[in-house]
């Protein structure tokens, strides 16, 4: 009975013949086409930006602080935007790396696998990764500026708002919250790739668990931690929505000097140039050049991270 039903099942699935099967050919081709189309989209976007941006990317453009009217192609530059983006990303890294790495260490080295707390932490990390960037912006405004900043002003008896307004520090902290999952996931992946034997050997030699983690595990995981950091930086460098209300300025005559200053930003500048330009045809060259600078900044970093990550994954596969 059973054998018969199995046989009829096999027949109904057309599994018996191995002649040329048009359906298989057609649908395999379709999935291949989908892959090609995605690659083509990527190529067209990058190609268009590089071809149109490269001729306009001059040293003068990268190293000039523009005057108030930054829509004039002859005199404009993006130096303050490059500096602004670099500062906010750098300050973010100072906050996000330690917290992210420590959390990843807890999750891989200490956390009991089946405890509800561990599961909630994991759920929280996954959730943070999915919160829309604009909501992070609202959070930065509501928490960092309106709550922490205003209370700091009150405590310090500042005459006017110093911290209770958009600033580099608040934008960086908002981005740090946003990129935390990136660092955690990358670090965790690299920690898992380290063979158990290394830890056991260290423990057998009399090292404590903490010593093992600091002296053996973390140095081994360094490439992975770097990947996480780089990915977080490249993600944050291109994000505009979270900094809209937390620190970015449309125009500033001087470079930011304190953490409570506002700043100009590359991504936001792309947005301004493409939506608020008085003459889009005239400003097109500088727009392309700005986009190219932003892409070089985020994409080069991303590319490095993908390379390191591929190596870490290969190592992981070789072990497991």
């Amino acid at each position: 009975m059973e054998a018969q039903s199995l046989k009829s099942k096999a027949q109904s699935h057309h599994f018996r013949t191995r002649q040329f099967d048009f359906g298989s050919f057609f649908f395999s081709g379709l999935t291949g086409l989908a892959t090609l189309l995605i690659l083509a989209i990527l190529a067209v976007i990058l190609g268009n930006i590089i071809v149109n941006g490269w001729p306009n990317l001059t040293w003068h453009f990268v190293s000039t602080i523009p005057k108030k009217d930054f829509f004039d192609p002859a005199t404009t530059g993006v130096l303050p935007m490059i500096i602004g983006t670099t500062i906010r990303v750098f300050v973010m890294t100072i906050f996000v790396l330690p917290i992210g790495v420590i959390t990843a260490v807890y999750l891989t080295e200490y956390a009991p696998t089946h405890s509800p707390v561990t599961r909630i932490i994991r759920a929280a990390v996954n959730n943070l990764a999915g919160v829309p960037s604009i909501v992070f912006g609202l959070f930065g405004l509501g928490f960092f500026i309106n709550f922490i900043g205003r209370n700091m002003d009150q405590l310090l008896h500042n005459p006017g708002p110093v911290w209770g307004q958009p600033a580099v520090l608040w934008a960086s902290l908002t981005l740090a919250v946003m990129t935390m999952p990136v660092v955690i996931v990358a670090t965790e992946e690299s920690l898992k790739a380290i063979p158990m034997g290394l830890r056991e050997a260290s423990l057998a030699l009399g090292a404590t668990k903490l010593e093992t983690i600091i002296r053996i595990v973390l140095p081994q995981a360094l490439p992975g931690i770097m990947t996480g950091g780089i990915l977080a930086v490249s993600r944050a460098a291109g994000e505009v929505a979270p900094i809209l209300f937390t620190g970015v300025a449309y125009y500033m005559a001087s470079l930011p000097g304190k953490l409570s200053d506002q700043f100009m930003d590359l991504g936001y500048h792309v947005f301004v140039l493409s939506t608020q330009s008085p003459d889009i045809e005239k400003t097109r060259p500088i727009l392309y050049a700005t986009v190219l600078v932003l892409l070089i900044l985020t994409f080069a970093l991303n590319f490095v991270a993908v390379l390191i990550r591929a190596r870490v994954r290969k190592k992981l596969r070789a072990l497991g």
Binding site: H13, F15, R18, S24, F27, S28, L30, T31, G32, A34, T35, L39, I41, L42, I45, N48, I49, I99, I102, T103, Y106, T108, Y110, I121, A124, N126, N127, L128, G130, V131, P132, V135, L138, F139, L141, G142, N146, M180, I184, E200, L203, K209, L210, G238, E239, V240, A241, L244, G267, Y268, V270, S274, T275, L287, V291, L294, L295, T298, F299, V306
Partner: protein
């Protein structure tokens, strides 16, 4: 992972361990804080305490002493602390200012029913209303002018319209590519193509928005020949570029985690590679693909810059070739003009809270499904 040993004997070690645990709890705290502080600013709207009506009842300053302190505080809209700190004269001045402001409202608005309406009530935010000058009830989001119109339905429709177009375009492409890369492609092709597709997620959304605005909008208009150059269709296609890498990675992950024995068994029975992929691997990984779509939905509905740059006119329309204004766009474009603590500001935070809730739920569903699938395929419970 980890080898368990007693730590009580080493206090420093024990302290460090507790510290590490506390730091990792900060992730939970952060999610909690996001929810609390976004909802906090929107609380008066949720509780119905905000009143955006232009014409409000006036209490003449002479009657000040007849009011109880609590009533006076509510009338002047002061916090407990501010109220305590103020002397009688200042309160009297405030009442005068309030009266004068009401006196300045032009005569023609006095009899306008719209001016008396509190537009932040749920009824006004969700139901259509026949505003002065319109011939039929309509859904309108228009937070400027004398009477601020806060109907959120056009924004919700706009968000879903753009998201749906984005998903309809992204999901077939991303899942198709995932099947190809995980099941059909040769290993060498896979090693090259997979990271390249993942690189698509490295393009900042503001760059995708720029590309859609300058290049795609014109190309698509020439191909399809519709009227409005910047519309929900263009925004949706551009949106799909940021969703594709996400849906691709998650479904590829799900398809790859199907045990190789399944594939080998099917191939041994004489199935072709495509039949194996479609009839054996795909059904086993289907929950994962579903999770990918749900997470892609969360990403798409939360995407801001692309939609902000490509289309942002608030029109109540179901047509994909009309403009649309999404929830995210509204928050991003209007927060700068909104007065901190005013009703417009609070409504924008309320939209943020709704958005947070929607993505929170879709993330939860996506994660749960993916988690279950992995446990099942790995033979755990």
């Amino acid at each position: 992972m980890g080898i368990h040993r007693g730590h009580k004997a080493r206090p420093l070690e024990w302290l460090a361990e507790k510290f590490i645990f506390l730091v990792s709890l900060s992730t939970i705290l952060t999610v909690f804080l996001i929810f609390v502080f976004v909802a906090r600013e929107a609380l008066p709207i949720f509780l119905g305490k905000e009143n955006s009506a232009l014409i409000k009842p006036v209490i003449p300053p002479a009657d000040m002493d007849k009011l109880k302190p609590e009533e006076l505080r509510a009338y002047l809209r002061l916090s407990e602390k501010q109220f305590q700190a103020m002397d009688r004269e200042t309160k009297l001045d405030l009442m005068l200012v309030k009266q004068e402001a009401q006196d300045e409202i032009p005569e023609r608005l006095r009899n306008d029913p719209d001016a008396k309406l509190n537009t932040t009530e749920w009824g006004a935010m969700l139901k259509p209303r026949q505003w002065a000058g319109y011939d039929k009830p309509e859904y309108i989001w228009q937070p400027i002018g004398q009477v601020h119109k806060y109907n959120i339905i056009p924004l919700i429709v706009g968000s879903f319209k753009v998201t749906l177009i984005g998903l309809l375009f992204a999901v077939p492409l991303a899942v198709g590519a995932a099947i190809y890369i995980s099941q059909l492609a040769r290993p060498r092709v896979r090693e090259v193509v997979k990271p390249v597709i993942e690189m698509l997620s490295g393009i900042p959304s503001v760059v995708i928005g720029f590309f859609a605005l300058l290049i795609m909008a014109t190309v698509l208009q020439n191909v399809f020949g519709y009227e409005t150059r910047l519309n929900a269709f263009v925004a949706g296609i551009a949106l799909s570029f940021s969703v594709i890498p996400l849906v691709f990675s998650i479904s590829e992950d799900a398809l790859t985690s199907v045990p190789r024995s399944y594939t080998q068994a099917a191939l041994a029975l004489g199935a072709s590679r495509w039949q194996t992929a479609w009839q054996i691997v795909m059904p086993a990984a289907l929950p994962g693909v579903f999770a990918a779509v749900v997470l892609g939905f969360g990403r798409a509905i939360g995407e801001t810059m692309i939609v902000l740059m490509v289309c942002s006119a608030s029109v109540m329309s179901w047509s994909i070739f009309d403009s649309a204004r999404s929830i995210t766009t509204t928050i991003a474009a209007e927060m700068a003009e909104a007065v901190s603590g005013g009703h417009h500001y609070r409504i924008l935070f309320m939209l943020g809270a709704i958005l947070f809730a929607v993505t929170f739920i879709s993330n939860m569903i996506g994660d749960l499904v993916m988690h279950r699938l992995k446990n099942k395929l790995e033979g755990k419970r």
